[in-house]
C-alpha cells in the first residue's frame, strides 16, 4: 500500500501534459479531453494494481492468509475496496477538477464525477484479476491480458459523454455502469481467489 501516490501522480502528469501537447486553443482543448480522461483513468488503475498481491506473495503472507482466514474472497474484495478508497476516489476528484479546469463546464464536470468513481472501481476489479493471473510474472502481462475486457466500459463511457452533452438519458448510462459494477464486485473476488490458490498449489 506504499505506492498509492504513484498512480495519482501518473494521472496528474497525464492530465497536465495534455494541454501542453495541443497549442493553447481553448476550443480544441475540450474535443479530445474526455477520451483522454477515461484512458488516463484506465492507465492509472492499471498502474495501481501492479503490486497488489506481489509483496504478500513474495514474503509468504499470502499463503498464510489463505490457510488461516475462512473467506479469502472477502479479503480480496476488502483489498480492492481499500485501493479504490485510496486511489480511485482521489483520482475521481482530480478528474472533476481537471475537467472543470480544462473544459470550464461545471455541469458536465459534475456529471463526470460519479462516472469516474464507478468506472475506476470497475477497472480496478478487472486489473486485479489480471494481476492475479500473472502474479509473479510482472504486471505488464496481466494488464495487457485484461485490457480487452475493459474496452466495453470505455465504449460506454465514451458514449455517455455525448449523452451528457445533449442532456439525454444520462441516468441510464450511470445505472448501466452501476449494474456492471455490482456484477463485477461479486464475481471478481471469487475468481481472483481461485486464481491465487492455483498459483500457490
Amino acid at each position: 500500500m506504499r505506492s498509492w501516490l504513484g498512480p495519482i501522480l501518473l494521472f496528474i502528469l497525464i492530465m497536465v501534459s495534455y494541454p501542453l501537447t495541443i497549442e493553447f486553443l481553448e476550443q480544441d482543448l475540450e474535443k479530445g479531453f474526455y477520451s483522454l480522461l477515461w484512458i488516463s483513468i484506465l492507465l492509472s488503475m492499471m498502474f495501481s494494481t501492479e503490486d497488489i498481491f506481489l509483496e504478500d506473495y513474495n514474503d509468504g503472507s499470502l499463503e498464510q492468509i489463505i490457510i488461516s482466514s475462512t473467506s479469502f474472497p472477502f479479503m480480496v474484495a476488502k483489498k480492492i475496496l481499500i485501493y479504490w478508497l485510496m486511489i480511485g476516489i482521489p483520482i475521481s476528484i482530480l478528474s472533476f477538477l481537471f475537467s472543470l479546469g480544462i473544459t470550464q463546464n461545471l455541469s458536465i464536470s459534475l456529471f463526470l464525477f460519479p462516472m469516474a468513481l464507478i468506472s475506476s472501481y470497475i477497472f480496478l476489479n478487472l486489473f486485479v484479476f489480471g494481476t492475479a493471473l500473472s502474479l509473479n510474472k510482472g504486471s505488464v502481462l496481466g494488464a495487457l491480458i485484461t485490457m480487452p475486457l475493459a474496452l466495453p466500459v470505455l465504449i460506454v463511457l465514451g458514449k455517455s459523454i455525448i449523452a451528457i452533452q445533449f442532456g439525454i438519458n444520462y441516468l441510464e448510462f450511470l445505472l448501466l455502469l452501476l449494474g456492471c459494477l455490482s456484477i463485477i464486485i461479486t464475481v471478481v473476488p471469487f475468481i481472483v481467489s481461485y486464481v491465487i490458490k492455483t498459483h500457490l498449489e
Binding site: 484479476f129 493471473l133 480487452p148 458514449k159 498459483h199
Partner: protein, 243 residues
C-alpha cells in the same frame, strides 16, 4: 455407454489412436472440398453486379471469420471441462487451439481489410464487426502470451482456462457494446449480415468453402494437439510404444 465412450476418449492415449485413424480421411476430403469450392467460387461463379469481382473474397473471408469465433467457443467449452472434471485432454486442447485461433482471426482480419479497399474505399473502418474481431485477435494473443510465460504447465493450464472463461463471458458484451457504439458513427455500409438473398450459384461454393476450411482447421487442431500431448506426456510409457 456414452459415459464410457467419453471416459475412454478423454484419455490422451485413446484420443491419439482414434484421431490417427480419422485424420487422413478428414484431411484429404476437406482439402478436396476446399480446393474444389475455391476454384468454383473464384473462377466459375458469375460476377456480382454490386461489388464486381471483388466479391469473390467472400469464399476466403467468411470461413475464416466464421471459425474465428467458433474456435473461441471450443476453447471455452474445453476450459470449462478442464476446470470442472479435470480432464487433461481438455487442457491440451485449449493451448492447441489458441495459436490456430489467432491465425484464423488474422486471416479474417487481413482478408476483410483487403476486401474493404475496393468495396468501401478504405482498408480499415471502425465498424462493429471489425472492431470486435480485432479485440478477439488481441485476446488470442494475450492467451498465448499468458501460457508461454509459465514454465509450470499445469498452473498455466488452470490460469489460462480461467482467462478463457472470463473472456468468453465478455465476448457477447464486447460485441453488444461495439454494436451500440458504432451505430453512432457509422452510416450504412455493405455488411455481410444484410446481404440480399444470395444466388445458389454463389451460395453452394460458399458452403463448400466453409465446410472445407472447417475440416482443414480441425486437422490443424488435431496435429497441434498431438504436439501438445507428446510434449507433455513424454514420460509416459504408452507414448514410447506409440512412437
Amino acid at each position: 455407454m456414452i459415459k464410457k465412450f467419453i471416459h475412454q476418449f478423454a484419455s490422451p492415449k485413446t484420443y491419439l489412436y482414434q484421431i490417427n485413424r480419422a485424420y487422413k480421411y478428414i484431411f484429404y476430403s476437406s482439402l478436396f472440398i476446399y480446393t474444389f469450392s475455391l476454384i468454383w467460387g473464384l473462377l466459375f461463379t458469375p460476377e456480382d453486379f454490386v461489388q464486381g469481382n471483388s466479391f469473390r473474397i467472400i469464399y476466403l473471408h467468411v470461413p475464416a471469420s466464421f471459425l474465428s469465433q467458433s474456435l473461441y467457443v471450443a476453447m471455452a467449452i474445453a476450459s470449462v471441462t478442464y476446470l470442472i472434471w479435470r480432464v487433461k485432454l481438455a487442457a491440451y486442447l485449449i493451448i492447441a487451439i489458441a495459436p490456430i485461433g489467432a491465425m484464423v482471426t488474422f486471416i479474417a482480419l487481413s482478408s476483410g481489410s483487403i476486401w474493404g479497399i475496393p468495396t468501401w474505399g478504405t482498408w480499415w473502418q471502425w465498424d462493429a464487426r471489425i472492431t470486435s474481431t480485432l479485440i478477439l485477435f488481441i485476446m488470442y494473443l494475450g492467451l498465448i502470451s499468458l501460457h508461454t510465460s509459465f514454465s509450470n504447465h499445469e498452473k498455466a493450464d488452470k490460469l489460462l482456462s480461467w482467462l478463457v472463461i472470463v473472456g468468453f463471458v465478455n465476448i457477447p458484451i464486447i460485441k453488444k457494446s461495439v454494436d451500440w457504439w458504432s451505430t453512432l458513427h457509422q452510416s450504412a455500409s455493405i455488411t455481410l449480415t444484410d446481404r440480399p438473398s444470395i444466388d445458389p450459384s454463389m451460395l453452394y461454393p460458399l458452403i463448400g468453402s466453409i465446410i472445407g476450411f472447417f475440416g482443414l482447421i480441425i486437422c490443424l487442431v488435431i496435429i497441434s494437439s498431438k504436439v501438445q500431448i507428446i510434449k507433455r506426456e513424454s514420460t509416459k510409457s504408452w507414448l514410447k510404444d506409440y512412437v
